[in-house]
Amino acid sequence: MLDSQAAVPTSSHEDIHSPALLHHFATEEQQRNASSFGMWIFLATEVMFFGGLFCSYLIYRLWYFGDFGAASKSIDATLGATNTAVLICSSLTVVLAIWGAQIANRKLMIGSLILTMLFGLAFLGIKGKEYKDKFEEHHVPGASFSFEKVPIPGHPDQYANPRHAQIFFALYFIMTGLHALHMVVGLGIFTWLLTMAWKGRFTPEYHTPLEVGGLYWHFVDIVWIYLFPLLYLIDRHP
């Protein structure tokens, strides 16, 4: 860092400690606790960030249940379920990577990190396929949106209101798009973690960035755990 970290006047830093210990912390444990707590609070902000979208979704789903059901039926639940499984597997590989660091098993740590990222890429790939399908079916809100003559589930004689369906798709794209953006950021974070791991920076005593990055990744998984049933499975029964 470019501030005067080198000129620490206190005398208590003569003892051996990890080079990762920042000067304003007294102990490594304090630093680790602070970093972890900081990430949890950041995740709290993320809950509220997505929460505004979930609140909007809740209101419109109650208002336009039939129309939302029709719109939901048109997105691919199998792809959604697959993506859910993919993310669940990626969360497993994240904890395995941390475990690898804790027992100094470099192969396990690095292999798990790579797998996590592969799962993440797979998720984005499947999502891309879904978006492509929606684009081709003219379900993207805007000038070319079209949702004519789609029956409401359970009421084959009634058609869904295209305007209300457009609200569903607006929320679908914003919520899954924001989630995908968080996945991309997560992949960036894990690229950095993988680089650090490859360079041997993590030990059983110090692997805080892995823990903190892992917390973020699990949170993104939890958001999807809610998005999947809410968006894909509204009114599927015949």
Binding site: M1, H24, F37, I41, G52, P141, L178
Partner: protein, 547 residues
Amino acid sequence: MATALAAPVERENYLNKEYGVASWLLTTDHKRIALLYLISITFFFFIGGFFALLIRLELLTPAGDLVQADTYNKLFTMHGQVMVFFFLIPSIPAVLGNFLIPIMIGAKDLAFPRINLLSWYLYIIAGIMMLHCMLTGGVDTGWTFYTPFSTAFSNTKVIEAGLAIFVSGFSSILTGLNFVVTVHRMRAPGMTWSRLPLFVWSHYATSIIQILGTPVIAITLVLVVAERALHLGIFDPKLGGDPLLFQHLFWFYSHPAVYIMILPSMGVISEIIPCFSRKRIFGYHFVALSSLAIAVFGFLVWAHHMFVAGISVYAALIFSLLSYSVAVPSAVKVFNWTATMYKGSIHYDAPMLYAYGFLGLFTMGGLTGLFLAALGIDVHVTDTYFVIAHFHYIMVGGAVMGYLGGLHFWWPKISGKLYPEGWARLAALIVFIGFNLTFFPQFILGYLGMPRRYFQYPGEFQVLNVLSTAGATVLGVGYLLPMIYFLWSMRYGKPAPDNPWKAAGLEWQTQSPPTTFNFEQEPVVTWEAYNYDEIDTGHKEEAHVVG
């Protein structure tokens, strides 16, 4: 050893440790970052004040003759946005909080110094975006961005302004995050929760609001931008969307935001009053917990901004009832401050004058808030100058007075210089007079029916408007004076002793100005907060932290 005399040779401190632009722009020292914020928010205060000046000039005459209607819409919008997001919300936390919190708890810095610097850069980026927006046409939606005007009909730079505020929101969130982790994890040995200065408690409560509330306005602005730019409409009535949904989401943050603006100021007052009454604060735990109560209750009342917007009358009843509850913890504080002064030994230095001003003006603002919480009254005075007067009494009479009082109180610590006390007392008096002349007539105007956000009005309201504009001029002079003499004092002021006010608190046991790492050795706290009885009778234990 604690000295009452200033050292003849300038000691090494955080200001003179390193010179050069890079040492400031790349600093992670919380004290330097606080000064970076001080300069930036003062700049935006001028901008917001400039818009206020134009508003008041227009309102000198009943006709709309200074600016066009569309321009006037932009003026009050930009005044609100700049003052709320770029001045009031950061002011005390980013300047005084950043500077003092680590020292008050006995730490070397905040938990995340680099994130602290990032917060400032996000604020600057947001500020540049907002400036660009203003210079290339501005926004005219009101600072409240109501849909569908902002999403579908306004021809101004809504997207840019929305994105600027989005970025500034993250600056605020990161500051709050930093403070919470710092208070939990970085307290020195012996600094228990019950010994924390109330300034720290109030910033802790503020940070909770910043963490939980700001993300909601962030996502709301994303939705507005998405609706406007990509036509992904969910607030659009043409699609069956509900414009009121925007208001629910907007006010869910923006009401707690007003507590972000006032709580830190209350923290300052809680430090000033005991010092200048030479008495322990009355009811320490009540004051501490009332800060948390304000933070929690503040989240339960947002729809009192929407009483006439079209929400259900049953919801309005619930929110009206809840809005009364939030006044209780604020009143608790006022009672405790008053009780602190009772039988105290009062000293009328400038910080105390600002504290007195705060007490009176905040009380008036708070009580008129109760008028507005009453559904029946609100129907008549909402969207009139009554509301404007109410919130300016709290924001300006409360928050800004607290900010100025705090700047004066801690100026010797921050700069190592004493400001001229005579001028400071005069400035406090001018601010108080100017403020009341500006905003009291507005209560009457609102009660008589003058709507807000209008640039022309019936002739019978002119006298009150002229009084208000005259007051604004006086108020402006009152604000200019401290800017001048603070700057003057940095060069010509008397060197300040380490504890000119003989105040309690760890910050007064460091150098004036402090060294970069605040303490030579980590202090160990063995005394209670606000131990003025011990200080004044000489039985105080010291932390032996100053070399």
